[in-house]
Amino acid sequence: MSNLQNMIISSVRTAIGWVPGQWLPGGKPDPLITRRGAVGRQASRLDGPAKVTGTARFAAEVAIEGLCYASLVHSPVTRGRITGIDSSAAERAPGVVRVITHRSMPRVASPALMSMADMGAVGNSSLPILQDDEIHYNGQIVAAVVAETQEQADHAASLLRIDYAEANAATRFEDAKSAARTMPSLLFDTNHRKVGDAERELARSAHRVDETYRTPWQSHNAIELHAVTVAWDGDDRLTVHDATQMIAPSAAALARIFDLKRDNVRVLSPFVGGGFGGKGMWDHQIVAVAAARMVGRPLRLMLSRESVYRIIGGRSPTEQRVAIGADADGRFTSLIHTGYSVMPGYGASPEAFTLGTRALYQAKSFEFVQRHVELAVVANTFMRAPGEAVGTFAVESAVDELAHGMGVDPIELRLRNLPERHPITNVAFSQHALRQAYEDGARRFGWERRQREPGARRDGEWRIGMGCASGSFPYARMPGAAVGLTMRRDGTATVACSAQEMGMGTSTVQVQHAADRLGLPVEAIAFEMGDSGLPAAPMAGGSSQTVSIAGAIIAAAEKLTTELLRLAGNDSPLAGLRTGDVRLEREGIASATDPSRHESFRSILSRANRDEITVQAAGTPPLELFKYAMHSTSAMFCELRVSDVTGEVRVDRLLGSFDCGAILNPKMAASQFRGGMIMGLGLALTEETLFDERSGRIMNPTLADYHIPAHLDVPEIEVMWTGIPDPRSPLGARGIGEIGITGVGAAIANAVFNATGKRVRDLPITLDRLL
């Protein structure tokens, strides 16, 4: 997050810009884009039966002999110091093994903060973990109690008496805005971007909108609670069953924190019950690992739902200004997107709500900048399309407002301003078909039935409206993804990678991929995952896991081919061919130009007297990211009704029309898109963490009081896609995990306006705002 980082990224981008595209990864489109077999087919998830029958083991379910259980105690004060701890009652309580406070916790460092400069780092917060008497935020862990059962640990934790000397705390967003910091960079871009004089252009534009939009605190609510089961073997070997999105990086971080050899730390996480950005490294893993070492026993720490709210950060609130100026023809002359979000100095995750806007529209002038408000809170983190989920709410509401003011159809206004190239960097898009997504979506949705005048359609007490909005999410491929690939004489193959299955169907899609890449049937492929002992996958984030692993499989398949050709030798029909001359097909290797020159893997390995051959390879560096502007986009449509009596909003229909590159498995993709859109529905209408600004305390840390959509809130959801492959990415795919949520907030807010004539600029759109 530094000027240095800006300089490095900008110089890489410049240097890459000089290199002809065909030298880069993705320069030559992946041949599998046109040669489809298993990829692109509807396939059920391979992990489905294990989950349905309950045999899939999650981190809190691992059985270990002699296991003990930990429970956490949280600070009820926001800033201050611990002045006294009376643990006598807790220590006497039945089953208690140990009470751990800052006085007894071993001295450990906090994990290095996640950053673009250190892609292997996992820390969400740099605050000390049970190291001293200082309280930094409400909910901070102040003690852990270890007992024979979970119930005994929970009870004993309630018996601890801790005294505090309270100090003043910054807890009010509005008050802290004046001291907000402007960082030099914002994730992978310069924070403050100016093109032309956007304020001047705005002032003299023929049409303009200039409004402030607000979104609230939101909390992570994965079904699976954060949990860790820890086992030490002696004092120098550690096994951690964790619910984590970052298996290999977590193992490396724990090795550093506990001063162990990297190879002596094993993190296992084959299944994760939902991550969404929240299952990274937080204080509880480090407390659990330390506690297990202190008590000399295997130990489990599963957070309560309340603990998740208190010590796992969520999405920061935002206050966003969006101003758009347009000429008489509706061409944007000015696009300004600025504002505030919370990020404490000890945090690592900016809520980068202006990033997506930088690639969304062409305009004559631009200004983007974000400011970070410092509050005494649990460090906020990445959550369900960080940045874009709330950024698209603001900018796409503003576009709708402008369209209404101009009397232009909002789709038409958007299409008039679609960018030809990236509006800021001026590099070419790798693939961009938002226009088609809009046209296809509008046709299927029946957009022509929309009444331009708000409030024109009624059904009894209900006013009916339609709205639309664009969604967007950048393509990312993580550097350093590696896989192991084993080919056996019996014609089976195994792909091994430390990645986790956290609900998106990673193993299923990579088995489909490996089958096509290796020329084998899907039944012949096994995918081993969820273990830091396997070749390291990067963290699962930024909707990047599929292409990151796919890139590594491409590299491994190439390496395997070279090895097999070497083994094949001169007695093979393949004699004399090099890796670039062949392709893997029909369970063997064939000449690319003469398919009759073919030898099966079986035959090659048998002749070489080998049972199997294993290679390991990492994907190429993701330089395509710098050479091209790579973004997924979507057109989101909503039809809803608003009660004239009560202001209640009922969404009747949602349709998402996506342009996300090639779709690798339509069944799983549709499910991910729908899931994202339901999250968008919650963002628009119901979700809000009630952060009491008087005290700095979260007041609704339960799923009864923090409202995610209930079944009855979720309407029929239709999804469709252009399916146009991205010629610059592995398999022609871009990530699809997060884009589903983007654009939904604005599509709903715009439909509410169309129904009622009321413009709601603060989320969630609760009924009192519509009375």
Partner: protein, 328 residues
Amino acid sequence: MTPFSYLRARSLDDALAIDPSRGDRLLGGGTNLIDLMRKGVEQPSRLIDVSGLSEGIEPSDSGGIVIAAAARNSAVAAHPLVRTRYPMLSRAILAGASAQIRNMATVGGNLMQRTRCLYFADAAGSRCNKRDPGSGCDAIGGFTRYHAILGTSPSCIATHPSDMAVALSALDARIHLAGTGGGRTVPAADFHLLPGDHPDRETLLAPGEVIVAVELPPTPAALKSTYRKVRDRASYAFALVSVGAALMVEEGRIEDVRIALGGVAPKPWRAFGAETALRGRPATADAFAAAADAALEGAAPQPGNAFKIELARRTLISVLSGLAEDLR
């Protein structure tokens, strides 16, 4: 959760052995009490499980219905007599909680459930006069979206969360209590108390008393009755405002009317004033508007829930108009 002992009551006598002064609490479906025990708000030393006692739902001699205290909420809502004679009650129950919770929850437990005030539930971090008398109220000045606008006191602004109890209040239900000294019957509308200076006292139930049944008197007006609940999502949320209403019109004039509101007061809020304003009058929009004004007279909202006055007004007018429309 604090350790406790557990007794399954086999008879009413077992239940009457309750001694609240020693930390005994009755357990129905546990859908609220167990949550509060997990949060440390309730710390009973003994639970006496009365969920296995009578679950009967029977016609009464007078032409009404008697519902035993351990009847499950879902059974009451689905009962043909309830659905045909008291649709308001059936709809109120179905508007509450989730199917799973309604399958567990008992009628007695529903009446005894406690407020969902966020500050009441936060034993570790918030002051609450209901939980800890005299300690103060952190809800005032805090998040008050689910708090009361009627019947509050400076010590407490919490709402009673039940939907079912709103209907019982409107339907003039009577609650049968048993104690070691004998039984008594109290009107549902009087069963819950306003907070005053003692928000920790929530019902008329005397120490050692047990709810045994709820009796619904025959109520012709209830044949045309309904319940509308307004909330922050389509299901599984507590009422911001709810209205239970029954209307009987003869020759254009209102013969009988029942109105109770939920989500707006520390108890199910029977709107007697609004009923008086309507009896004998023509069933017109103006009359309903005047009744709504009467129902909300004296409302004293917090900054976070002032919208409830307008919301309750509109919902009440709409519900009464809808009933009148159906009667035409």
